[in-house]
Each structure stands twice: as structure tokens, then as C-alpha cells.
């Protein structure tokens, strides 16, 4: 087993324990600033790996240990050639850098995975040695590409976020899932509250005068109750309508990397908008077009047109009546095998999948614990089910455990009887944060307390993971441990609809109870064919490597874009490898400014504000696609940078552009 690594990019799993011997070192860890790994094939059997590490001391302690060890390797596989694999009591003055290099040869033919490196350090305090995690893990490429100066700055900044939680799993891919705390400049927080207060006051003033004026006018609807009682639509009338030209923009072409945005004009200060005949060709940074299937594809589109001719655009009935075609059964089998579960059922609409399945899975007397930032479809389904709904702090497994313990101990609300069923609902990638879910920890907590796990992979299926199979593959969670896996086809597959994958018994049960299966029209046949064809492309079954290229493309594009944005000084949320990156705007006036200025420069971004996000945390959300070329991304970066300067959203200091020459480094091939 130890010899059976798959070929790919080079990596070494390095665990480096760096400790310092002074008691006040707990606030100032050593960090690994730079790491280079190189692989040389001396002959077909023997491979030599060189690892060189730069250690930077950003604290006050001066003594450290460095160890290169990995308890998942068989020790007899490698021979150390140059440099010991450990070093104790090295001395490093505060603020300086030291390099270590290790070289070892493998005795048998092995090939290495590409994986990020994990670095830990140990900090002794008076109460004993504590283990702490220093730099969050980053993919090897990011660590080895840029120069040391920038790396230090980047890592210092990442250091200030919460310590990363991570996990180590069977196929040796290590990813850091950080619960990133949103860092706001204090002055921005104050001005944001003040701006919202001012907007609120003006809205109330206008409402007040409108009510006085309406007293004088005669309404033809005397005696009827008003549709909205004064407060309910206040936000829409007084805040949203002022900037409604930034939302709901119509497009007149497929949402590919570049698309046509229809221009609109308003004669009454944004209360109503009229479409004009002009279109502008804009770069699309808002569509969930992760793998580039949104526009015509050379493999999928001819097959879709053929299905359209053979099956007609709609099945015109529900699944149980006459709406199950051979396409539907083939689609369900393919989805089940793609996701890694025994069986699957598909529905015509993604939102409906969540809101119609949750009431069927759980009812009164059950408990649903959902993440606080779950999508509206899950909230809707949970409310519609009649079960008790509790919320745990976003992506915090310790809080989930606390809530679970409390609820299990308390029991049902008034009777205190034990719960009939407990379902934990989490999402793979949270679309407003771009964050990955801490799935292994959450699954571990659920197994401990025997609760079911419901994973909504709307944004992550097809977009993350080595072969595109979603967060389970990326984070190394066995799909058998997640009880219900849900996803949609709108994002990565370029189609419409949603699916639920689970055990055969579960899917059979759903097929005769779920109202979306019994009464709603089934998936349109051309849409089903699009999903089948796109799955074939992703898996490489169409005979080309376009699928693998797309997956690699979206990963590289996301990592490149995110790191460039962070270097410019924007506050970008989300984990590495995630194609969704929100740029924080905060102030309500910056939302329309950013959106309109970008549109003037032919870049279309989606801005999100209250109430889809918390009040303070308005953001512009960028979705990267595999269809974006490097040229597109560079143009987008230039536009966003200039608009960011104009609007003033570069809340972090930008990194200086220093070039440092490094001699004697073995370049990574």
C-alpha cells in the first residue's frame, strides 16, 4: 500500500516540528517561509527528492527544532543522502531567515502525489509543551512559485487569521480548511453602520411624507387590507430600489466567459428600468460556470440537439406518470456512480430538491441542525418539514457538538422525549463565503452522536476534487459516511435540476414519497442529455482529456486569481481551490459604485448585500470558470484593481513587488 502512490505532481509530506525554548514564545511562532521540493529520477527505480526549507523567525524566541518526518511512510523506503532528517537546538535570531535542505533517495520505485505541505511547530510554556499550528497549508505550487519576500508577507497575514484546522487522510492529500475570520478595519465598521443609519433615516422620512400625501389622495381600494404592512417592504422600497440597476441585469447570450449584457435606462431615478437595444460585451465573473459548460460545447451540444429532436423539449408529465425516459434512468445511474453512492434520484429544479426532500426525510419530533449560513432552499425545507430546527455557528464543529449535546440531553421541546431522528445539514462550498466545509470533523461528530449527515454539494460537485467528485474527494471523506448527498446540475454541468444520492433503500423510499418525484414534471430530456454528456467529458469517457484540463484549469485559475487579488490588498474570503471568491466591500455606497464602475469597464460582477449577507458584510462575489483564459483573468485583475482604487476597497496593505534572486535552488520540474 505504501508503494502504491499515484503519479502526478511531486510532493513530499513534510511534518516539521519547530519548537522554541522560551516561555514567552507562545505568541510568536517560527514560520516556514519558503519550501522547494525537487524530484530527480536517477534511474528507473531510484528517485531522489530534495527538500529545502527556509525558516523565518517572526517572534522573539531563538531556539528551534526542525524534523522531517512522516509517520505514514514506511521508513525502509527511503535513505537519507544529504542532511540529517532532524536538527535540534538550532539558533535563529528574531527576524532572520535560515535554510535547511534534506535529500533522500527512495529504494524502490515509487511516485509521489502532489500535495500541500503541513507545517507545525511546538511551543513550550510553563504548563508544558503545546502543539500549535503555524502557517496554514498552501498548495506546493503557490509556496514554490513566488519569492521569499512576498511569501513572508502573505504568511504573516494568514497567520493573523484563526489557526487552521486540518486533517490527514489516506491518499495523502492535505488541505487546510481554515475558519477564516472576517477582518474589518474599525473605521470602516463605524462608517458602515453610520451609512446604513443615514439611509434608514432618509427612508423613514420619505415614508412619513408619503403617508401624509396618501392621506389626501383617494384610493380605489377602500376597505381592502394592504398587501404589505408598512415595515415589510421597507428595505425593498427604500434601499434596494435605489440601486436596482446593479441587480437583475438581463443578458442576451449564453453565459460563457464573455457575454452580452443588455443596457437599461431609468427615467425616474431607478424606480423603474427600461431595456434598450444596446448590448455591451462583458467579461463574465458572475455565472456559476465552473467548468465552462455554459456555452456550446463540442461534445455536449450535438448530443443535446439530437436528444431534443428525439425526445422533445419536455416530458410533459411527472416521473411516475409518463415522464421517465431512458435518459432519466441512465442519468440517475451515471450520477450515482459519479458521486460514489449506490443510487440517485434526479429532479427538475435544484431549489425544489432541498425544499421537497427535507420534509420527506424528517417530520415533527425530529431535529434538524443546520449551519447558520445555509442556503434559503435548506431553510425553506427545514421550516416546511415541521421538525425542530437549531442552528450552529458557521463551520464550527465544536459548536455543533455543543448544540448536539444540549439538544440530545433536552429531548423534544415540551415532552422531553428522545428525538426521533437528527439530521445535520451542511453545504460543500458556501456560496457567499467561498469556504469549504470542515467535513471530516463534522462527520466525526455526527458519527459519535449517531446523527445523519446531509451534504448539499450545489457548488462543489464537479468543481473541486481531483476528478471533480466534490468535497468528499477533496477532503478525503468516504462517501459511505455521508448519508444523503445532494447536489445541483446548474453550476458545473451547465444544465438544470438537482439530485439526491444515497443508499438504494433511501432512494427507493424517496421515489414513492417525495412530492417532487410524484407530482413535479421530470427533468427536460435535452437538459438530462447535457448532464450525461458533461459527466462523460469530466470523466474522460468522451475519449479526450478535456475534462481533466477543465478541472486543472479551474483550480489553477482560482488559485491564481485569489492570490493576485490578495497581493493587491483586497480582502478576499474563501479557501484555496474554491472557485468562489467574495471581495469584501462593507459600505453600502461602495456596492453600486463597484458594480457600475466595473460594468463601465466591461466586467460584469455580482454584488451581494443585506439581507442575503449580514448587514456589515456586503461583498462582490466572483465566480471563476475553466473557460476563463489567463488573458481574461489578467484583464479582470486590472479592471478590479483600478475600480478598487477608485472605490476604496483595498483594505489590506498591498504586497511590494520585490524580486529576489535565489541561488543554488533546485528548480521544481
Amino acid at each position: 500500500m505504501e508503494n502504491a502512490f499515484r503519479s502526478g505532481i511531486l510532493a513530499v509530506l513534510a511534518l516539521i516540528f519547530i519548537s522554541s525554548s522560551f516561555a514567552n514564545a507562545s505568541d510568536s511562532p517560527f514560520i516556514v517561509a519558503h519550501k522547494r521540493v525537487a524530484l530527480k529520477k536517477l534511474n528507473p527505480i531510484v528517485e531522489r527528492i530534495s527538500v529545502s526549507i527556509d525558516v523565518y523567525n517572526r517572534g522573539s524566541a531563538t531556539a528551534y527544532d526542525v524534523t522531517l518526518a512522516d509517520d505514514s511512510w514506511a521508513q525502509d523506503v527511503f535513505d537519507s543522502v544529504i542532511g540529517n532528517t532532524s536538527m535540534s537546538w538550532g539558533r535563529l535570531d528574531a527576524g532572520s531567515l535560515v535554510s535547511h535542505s534534506f535529500e533522500f533517495e527512495s529504494k524502490v520505485k515509487t511516485v509521489y502525489y502532489g500535495a500541500p505541505a503541513l507545517i507545525t511547530y511546538r511551543v513550550p510554556t510553563k504548563s508544558g509543551l503545546q502543539e500549535a499550528y503555524s502557517t496554514p497549508t498552501l498548495p506546493l505550487k503557490i509556496l514554490s512559485d513566488s519569492d521569499t519576500g512576498k511569501k513572508i508577507e502573505k504568511l504573516k497575514r494568514l497567520q493573523s487569521s484563526a489557526p487552521p484546522a486540518f486533517h490527514h487522510h489516506r491518499n495523502q492529500t492535505l488541505t487546510a480548511v481554515r475558519s477564516k475570520m472576517i477582518t474589518i478595519p474599525y473605521l470602516t465598521a463605524l462608517t458602515t453602520y453610520f451609512s446604513y443609519g443615514l439611509l434608514f433615516v432618509f427612508g423613514q422620512l420619505r415614508d412619513f411624507f408619503r403617508r401624509i400625501i396618501d392621506l389626501w389622495s383617494h384610493s380605489s381600494l377602500q376597505g381592502y387590507a394592504p398587501i404589505c404592512l408598512g415595515l415589510e417592504d421597507f428595505y425593498i422600497r427604500r434601499l434596494y430600489l435605489r440601486i436596482q440597476d446593479c441587480f437583475n441585469r438581463p443578458i442576451s447570450s449564453p453565459p460563457d466567459a464573455w457575454f452580452d449584457v443588455v443596457e437599461r435606462v431609468s427615467k425616474d431615478n431607478n424606480k423603474t428600468l427600461q431595456r434598450t437595444k444596446n448590448v455591451s460585451r462583458c467579461l463574465n465573473l458572475g455565472s456559476y460556470n465552473y467548468l465552462g459548460f455554459a456555452a456550446a460545447d463540442e461534445y455536449c451540444t450535438p448530443r443535446v440537439i439530437e436528444s431534443l429532436k428525439r425526445f422533445s423539449p419536455s416530458t410533459c408529465s411527472s416521473r411516475v406518470d409518463g415522464g421517465t425516459t431512458t435518459l432519466h434512468t441512465e442519468l440517475e445511474e451515471r450520477v450515482a456512480s459519479f458521486v460514489g453512492k449506490p443510487a440517485a434520484v434526479v429532479f427538475g429544479m435544484g431549489y425544489v430538491t432541498n425544499s421537497a426532500i427535507l420534509p420527506v426525510l424528517i417530520g415533527k419530533g425530529g431535529l434538524i441542525i443546520s449551519d447558520s449560513l445555509n442556503h434559503n432552499s435548506i431553510v425553506n425545507g427545514a421550516r416546511g418539514s415541521g421538525a425542530t430546527v437549531r442552528v450552529f455557528q458557521h463551520n464550527t464543529p465544536s459548536h455543533l457538538e455543543k448544540v448536539l449535546r444540549e439538544q440530545i440531553a433536552d429531548g423534544q421541546p415540551r415532552t422531553h422525549r428522545p428525538w426521533k431522528k437528527i439530521i445535520i445539514v451542511v453545504e460543500g462550498i458556501y456560496s457567499m463565503e467561498g469556504e469549504l466545509c470542515k467535513l471530516p470533523e463534522i462527520v466525526a461528530v455526527c458519527k459519535k452522536y449517531k446523527a445523519y449527515v446531509y451534504l448539499d454539494e450545489a457548488h462543489s460537485i464537479g468543481a473541486v476534487g481531483k476528478t471533480g467528485r466534490g468535497v468528499c474527494e477533496l477532503l478525503g471523506v468516504d462517501t459511505a459516511e455521508v448519508d444523503v448527498m445532494m447536489g445541483t446540475f446548474t453550476k458545473s454541468f451547465g444544465s438544470c435540476g438537482g439530485y439526491i444520492a444515497g443508499s438504494k433503500e433511501l432512494i427507493q423510499y424517496l421515489k414513492y414519497t417525495c412530492p417532487a418525484h410524484l407530482y413535479a414534471t421530470s427533468v427536460s430530456p435535452p437538459a438530462a442529455q447535457q448532464i450525461i454528456s458533461s459527466i462523460k467529458v469530466i470523466l474522460g469517457e468522451d475519449g479526450s482529456s478535456r475534462g481533466a484540463q477543465k478541472l486543472a484549469g479551474i483550480r489553477e485559475n482560482s488559485n491564481f486569481f485569489r492570490s493576485e487579488l490578495q497581493k493587491m490588498g483586497f480582502e478576499v474570503l474563501g479557501d484555496n481551490d474554491s472557485p468562489v471568491m467574495p471581495i469584501m466591500l462593507y459600505n453600502p455606497s461602495k456596492i453600486p459604485a463597484f458594480s457600475r464602475e466595473c460594468l463601465k469597464r466591461n466586467v460584469a460582477v455580482v454584488t451581494v448585500a443585506f439581507p442575503a449577507t449580514p448587514l456589515l458584510l456586503a461583498r462582490a462575489r466572483i465566480c471563476i470558470s475553466a473557460a476563463h483564459t489567463r488573458k481574461d483573468l489578467i484583464k479582470a485583475l486590472e479592471v478590479i484593481s483600478s475600480v478598487g482604487d477608485l472605490v476604496g476597497v483595498k483594505y489590506f496593505p498591498a504586497e511590494p513587488n520585490k524580486q529576489q534572486l535565489e541561488e543554488g535552488r533546485v528548480k521544481m520540474e
Partner: protein, 158 residues
């Protein structure tokens, strides 16, 4: 210097979008700064004594906070399907839990305003009467025992 200070926004478990903004950092400071700024505004516009300005601020604060915290019910957006339609903003914050830090702060602010207003007017009538009335109504409205209480059915559900 103050522009370089950063705060961390801890994600809150409060589901009510109408009230979760009160759990983020900077709210208390903004509230106090708005009151101070309005006092300066009143002083410059009306050219009165500082004590009168504080009394004006106290009374306006009373009217505004009573209206928005204890009179208006529900939320200003339709997304939550009206589950808070019977609750005022004061009853919604912190999920209805009493005596939390936010509630204690909001109870102390009118008291401090009252002290400042009555001190700077030297406890003279008629300002003292109005100030005392304002602070009494506000503080009584914020008692834990007054949660969801509608006296004589005023402002109750139809």
C-alpha cells in the same frame, strides 16, 4: 492610525437578519458617536446652551428609540416569512434572551443621557420633568418582565 486598526467579525449564530447586525463589532461606538455628533449639530443649529442641547437630544432619542425599538413590529424585509411580525425589535434581539450584554448596554444609554441632560441643565424645571418622563418610559419598556407585554392591548396584534 485609527484607520489601521482591524477587528474580527465573529460569525454569529443569530438567524434574525433584522437584529444580527447588533452583534458585530463597532455598534456601540457608532451609537455613542451618533449621539455626540447630533448634540454638536443641535448646538450649532439652535445656538442654545449645552444643557438645552442635551435635553433636546435626550427627548429626540426617546422618541426615536421608543418608536423603532418598542413600537414598530416585524422586520423590514419579507425573507423571513413574517415569523417576527408580533415582536418589536427589542423583543427580537439576542433571540429573545434577557439580560444579555447588548440589552444591558441599551438600558444604560438612556440612563447616562438622563444624567448628563439633568446635570447640564442644573436640574431645573420644566426640562427635568420631561427628561425624567423619557427615561422612566424607556427603562420600564426594557425590563425583562415587560417581554411581550402589551399594556391595555396597545400595539397588540390585530
Amino acid at each position: 492610525m485609527i484607520g489601521k486598526m482591524y477587528v474580527q467579525a465573529v460569525p454569529t449564530a443569530d438567524m434574525n437578519r433584522n437584529t444580527d447586525w447588533f452583534t458585530y463589532p463597532g455598534v456601540w461606538t457608532t451609537y455613542i458617536l451618533i449621539l455626540f455628533f447630533c448634540w454638536l449639530l443641535v448646538l450649532s443649529v439652535f445656538n442654545c446652551t449645552p444643557g438645552m442641547a442635551w435635553t433636546v437630544i435626550n427627548l429626540c432619542h426617546f422618541v426615536v428609540t421608543y418608536h423603532f425599538f418598542h413600537w414598530k413590529k416585524g422586520t423590514p424585509f419579507p425573507d423571513d416569512q413574517g415569523i417576527y411580525n408580533g415582536l418589536t425589535w427589542w423583543e427580537q434581539i439576542d433571540d429573545g434572551r434577557q439580560l444579555t450584554r447588548n440589552r444591558k448596554f441599551l438600558t444604560v444609554v438612556p440612563l447616562v443621557l438622563y444624567l448628563i441632560a439633568s446635570h447640564t441643565t442644573d436640574y431645573q424645571h420644566p426640562m427635568l420633568f420631561f427628561n425624567t418622563l423619557a427615561v422612566l418610559v424607556l427603562v420600564v419598556a426594557k425590563f425583562p418582565n415587560m417581554h411581550k407585554v402589551r399594556i391595555f392591548g396597545i400595539n397588540g396584534d390585530q
